[in-house]
Amino acid sequence: MTILSDVSFAVDGGDSVAIVGPSGAGKSTLLALLAGLDLPSTGSVTLNGHDLNTLDEDGRARVRAQSVGFVFQSFHLVPSLNALENVMLPLELAGMKDARDAALRITDEVGLAERRSHYPAQLSGGEKQRVAIARAFATRPAVLFADEPTGNLDARTGEKIMTLMFDLNRDSATTLVLVTHDSQLAARCDRVLTLDAGKLVADEAAAA
């Protein structure tokens, strides 16, 4: 079964790109391929200069540890670790020595200084997503992948979270790849890619 075919594009460093399209268009599959979570049966993906096809799973994991951050729709925090430890996780996986200091700094930046020692179960949805964003930006990744980051949040909280994300994106010159249903959100990106039935049907600069 072919999920994606004839999808070809390049994203420049520092750009923000939204991937939009109806359900089943292949948005999540495309995201998985871009992040090296999965490999395409044909074709190739180059991430931050690494040809993912030539790397094994652990090799791709190393690339992710060094240059990729994730924000998921369902937050996906490790329930057994507290907020600070969740943020420390990718820093330690990337082998950084001052993981704790870096994590303390970034939890401050996202406004979670008071909630650091709380466990995910004790946090609200918005707070969880702040932790997830802190975790994503903690390693200063070259690319940030976000999968429906506001999908599980009410409109006001979602708005705050997006503002935070775009601010961090701008400040740290990170490339942002955002999968979303939300056309307002897509409009805040530099560029919008539209998928339909596994094909790239539009590639345009955002209106705003």
């Binding site: 979570l37 999965d38 994730f70 369902s74 329930p79 057994s80 670790l81 420390m88 330690e92 995910p120």
Partner: protein
Amino acid sequence: MKALSFALKSLRRELRSGEVLVLLAAVTLAVAALTAVGFLTDRIGKAVARQANEVLAADLRLQSQEPIPESWRTLAAEYDLRTADMASFPSVVYRGDDNALSTLVAVGDGYPLRGTVRIADRLFGDEQTAAGIPAAGTVWADGTLMARLGAEVGDVLEVGSARFPIAAVVTYRPDQSVGFASFAPRLLMNTVDLPSTGLIGVGSRVTYALLVAGADDAVEDFAAAIEPELPDSLRLRSAEESSERAFAAADRAQRFLSLTAVISLLLSAVAIAMSARRFALRRMDPVALMKSLGATQGFVIGVATVQILLIGLIGVVVGCVIGFAVESAVSWVLADIISGDLPPAGLRPVALACGSALLLLAGFALPSLIRLRNTPPLRVLRHDAVPPAPSRILVAGASLAAVTGLLYQSVGDAELLVYVLGGIIAISAVLYLLGRGLVAVLGRFRSGVGVAWRYGLANVARRGRASAVQVVAFGLGLTVLLLLTLVRTDLMESWRRTLDENAPNQFLINIQPDETDAVRRIFEERGIEPPALSPMVRARMTLINGESAKDQSFPDPGGEWFVNREQNLSWAAALSDSNEILDGEWWPPGYDGPPLVSIEEERSMETGLGVGDHLTFEVAGQTVAATIASVRKVNWDSFQPNFFLVFSPGALDDYPTTWIGSLRVEPEDRDALVSLVRAHPTVSVIDLDSVLKQVREIIQKATLAVQAVFIFTLAAGIAVLFAAVQSTIDERRFESAMLRALGAGQRTVLAGVMAEFAALGTAAGLLASAGASALAAVIAEQLFNLPYTFNPLLWIVGLGSGVVVVCASGYLAARGAINAAPVDVLRGAAA
């Protein structure tokens, strides 16, 4: 019908899923533990029942340390009863230079009056019923004696001063006594040959018996008639009394083993409850779907029930096979310490195991199935719609009823049941609290360690309750195994250390007064330290402070036993090195006043007798009285001849006396013993080294049998671990995927999971080592009066095996989750 075929179809697929396998393993283990113990106790019980009627080889047995007067035989004949003579005593038997201590059993015409003797014409040959008793001038030896002497049928044995060819191997005697045999093998001979051995004389330890049998009422009349006439020296034993004791012994063994099986059973129950819960959870989606498509609750629960029953059925079959195999192995190991062959086991244990499997499943799996039945069809639309949890009272009630039912089946004693249940609940509660404490402490370490350890420790802490259950379940099995292996050898070792290297290793008994100088000389001539000899006079206690000894009550049942048994009295001028006075005073040198006696400490406590009490004995038909002058502590480990009652010199001078002594004989000097026994055939030599070796062997074999049962406990502990991991496998799979998405290599994910199990294993190992050490200290100091020595090996082995086994089982249980594909994270559930 529809439910059945659907259940069968899906079960084949389900068998590959983890929780079904764990459920199956738990049922299998419970059934295997129950049947192994059931088969074994059933066979022992049957052996007891079979022999109950013939355990005396007669209906009545008159027993005495002196020859039975002819008048009793005549009286029996008047009641139309048949009689036969018997005499037995310990003696060393020779074949060339090989010798073995054995019990000589001399039997007269007519023996046995009940049951039959079976013999074979060679060792392990086909057995047949013996037509009579050994012909005059020949003997029949049992297999153990043949093996010990390396003898074959036809070989000549030296017994005292006589020589007899072995005419047959005895394979079964009705009165060989059920249960655990005494160490000495038996040699059956004809009573007419007794005088020629020269072993019967003053002071020899012969038990004479007159066997009596006949019609039931004639036996009763005879017993009623002689009862009031019996002198103190004569004991009447009836078949009921003897078999009651055998039944009691078998019953105790059965209860002990059943209790050990119950521990495995309870752990299995925990595993069943855990895996049944997941079994039900996993079926919620398909059930909701089927319900939304119009399936009824009856169909839904029918399918699940049929599947659970099928799992139970497979578990019962496999468990019975394992149980049978283990039982066969255990009774093979026990073969030479249980006398007589065991009859084959019946099917009762299988029925019991089936019933127990059903009860376990009903009590521990049914609540989850009932919950499954109530799955709302809404779940097809809203994933978080779950059925109401079954009421806690229902779950607790069903489980408790199941456990109580099981315990009652195997223990069968309401009072004991209350104690056991209370004990198990209390111990589990304590262990559980300790486990939680350990888990919490481990959790605190995580800020100071690397990412893999932090992740693993965090998981242990988050699943605190499940972690504690795993630690306890596994730690329990490990504790018992440590006790049975390391602690047992430790205790034996520390006992051996308390023994003097140069302690005597040979006991000489039954030395006649005119032989003492010659015996000493045999050793002196060879430059061996001769034995210090003590005199021994056999007596019976008749009066305590002027009142009949029989009618007294004592602080301890041991006191009654001591007072009523045949006493071995001694006398001494000086206190032995191995004795210490605790109360009163030892008589001064040269004392020749009225008779005084010194009593041993434990006997004093059991009987309540102390300094100033007045004792009267009957010795060879005369009366001797003495006042207790002191209470002594005896160091029995000195292997010196020691006596419970020691008289002042002169008090026992005029009575029939034999002498006993102990000495150390190095292996190269053993020919001295051969010369001794050749020159003085009535002297018996008991080789302590070989007795100790036999004791060790028996302990080793008995613990091996118990270990086999406790292996089930350990396996059930592992089943609990598997069940607990299974119940978190989805979470684990998702978390592994996420860690990998965040850039963790496979090695890091694996390290995190292994850190978790290593922590659990450490906690279980600590718990087991601490438990085993505490129990060992109590056992050593309270039970055996040995100093407890701390053994670091216990902790190393406890911790080591805890970590290794938990990590290995944990890896097996969780390996599916470790290799989760990172792309799963995009499809995962909410955290």
